[in-house]
């Protein structure tokens, strides 16, 4: 297999600047913040809330490509969202699940506890059963690159399950601070206002 960090590094080279990327809490947010520091990121989407947030955003901005960087533990907490996504069928949405089969908790140096995908659960099959026509599993960089490029160039929704090592032993030491949720909200919302021409942040002070 391959590490999450290696795949995220590859993704950072593949994702154009205007594609919106939403990341689940933990290493997906931490690593993506190191690799792709920019306004078009929404970080810190908590357990069960990454793909659902991406769904809402993709429906609100149907002409904008959106990538959700989800994970096995985060997605399985709210697994029904896959059925909702398949039924709503936003063609601008790609769900990427970094499946390390593990709840690491705060311990990033040793495996934590297994998720359901460490046992019998297969999330690609779940996605297909929920109604995704485009669902696949990748376990190396070349296949990941191919599936991402295809997803970004074609109508979705797409589901890409990346089976990765439990630990990211190749991740460098953290060099940048990832914005906190409120700081990130203002950055991301301001960026969308600027690039989409929509109003998100009213002042609440009578000035608009």
């Amino acid at each position: 297999m391959v590490t999450r960090f290696t795949l995220l590094k590859e993704l950072s080279a593949l994702v154009p600047d205007d594609i919106l990327v939403l990341t689940s809490i933990g290493n997906n947010s931490g690593f993506w913040g190191q690799l792709k520091d920019r306004e078009a990121n929404l970080f810190h989407l908590t357990m069960g809330m990454c793909s659902s947030t991406a769904l809402g955003l993709s429906l609100a901005l149907p002409k904008r490509k959106i990538v959700a960087l989800d994970s096995d533990g985060n997605l399985t907490l709210n697994l029904g969202v896959l059925g909702t996504i398949a039924n709503e069928a936003p063609n601008n949405l790609t769900i990427v699940v970094m499946d390390n089969q593990n709840y690491l908790g705060s311990n990033k140096l040793a495996p934590g506890m297994p998720t359901a995908t460490a046992g019998k659960m297969n999330l690609e099959s779940v996605a297909k059963g929920c109604g995704f026509d485009s669902a696949c599993t990748v376990e190396d960089v070349a296949a990941f690159r191919d599936k991402i490029q295809n997803a970004l160039a074609s109508a979705g929704p797409h589901f890409i399950l990346a089976r990765v090592d439990a630990l990211d032993k190749d991740a460098p030491k953290k060099s940048k601070r990832v914005p906190d949720p409120r700081e990130n909200k203002y950055q991301f919302a301001s960026y969308i206002q600027k690039t989409e021409g929509v109003e998100i942040l009213g002042s609440g002070l009578g000035g608009g």
């Binding site: 809330m49 991406a54 809402g56 709503e88 969308i192």
Partner: protein
């Protein structure tokens, strides 16, 4: 809920500027959900649970939508973690609309929700108004959504008594 009262909820949502809604249907509000699903001005997303609805509404807000969450009193309990999160950590506005089952006068036994609904909203620091008369539905929805957007936090509207049953 009688259709004419459900229609007032839809009217109030529209006058409040709501153009996006998510939730899980419940028996008391089923007329509202049916109208939402057919409405052309409001995109309604039926989710598998209410926590998922919070994420969907939260994401839609970042795309410029003015979202409402339609939550049963039981669904509020399911949504609690994500609602607390977007209120206290992200500080993002959504209008939360709740048919207040279990309040005093409810002809069915739903007393559980009397014990959980208002204390739960208070614990999450989510302001709310209770609407007991159908003539107040439209204005209260407008007022609460205006405050939600000004304060950047969820604000709830609870319907009970003549406004609901």
């Amino acid at each position: 809920m009688k259709p004419e009262k459900a229609q007032l909820v839809i009217q109030g949502l529209k006058e409040a500027g709501v153009d996006f809604a998510a939730g899980v249907p419940d028996a008391q509000f089923i007329e509202v959900y049916k109208m939402l699903a057919e409405d052309r001005d409001i995109h309604y997303v039926g989710t598998a649970n209410e926590a998922e609805a919070v994420g969907v509404g939260f994401g839609a807000w970042f795309g410029g939508k003015k979202p409402a969450l339609m939550l049963a009193t039981s669904g509020l309990l399911v949504a609690t973690y994500h609602l607390a999160r977007i209120n206290l950590l992200h500080e993002v506005p959504v209008l939360v609309v709740i048919p207040y089952r279990g309040d005093i006068g409810d002809p069915r036994w739903m007393g559980l929700y009397k014990k959980t609904t208002e204390p739960g909203l208070n614990a999450m620091d989510i302001p709310y108004r209770i609407v007991s008369r159908s003539t107040d539905i439209v204005r209260t929805l407008k007022d609460c959504n205006e405050s939600a957007r000004a304060w950047l936090k969820p604000v709830a509207v609870l319907l009970n008594e003549e406004a609901l049953w």
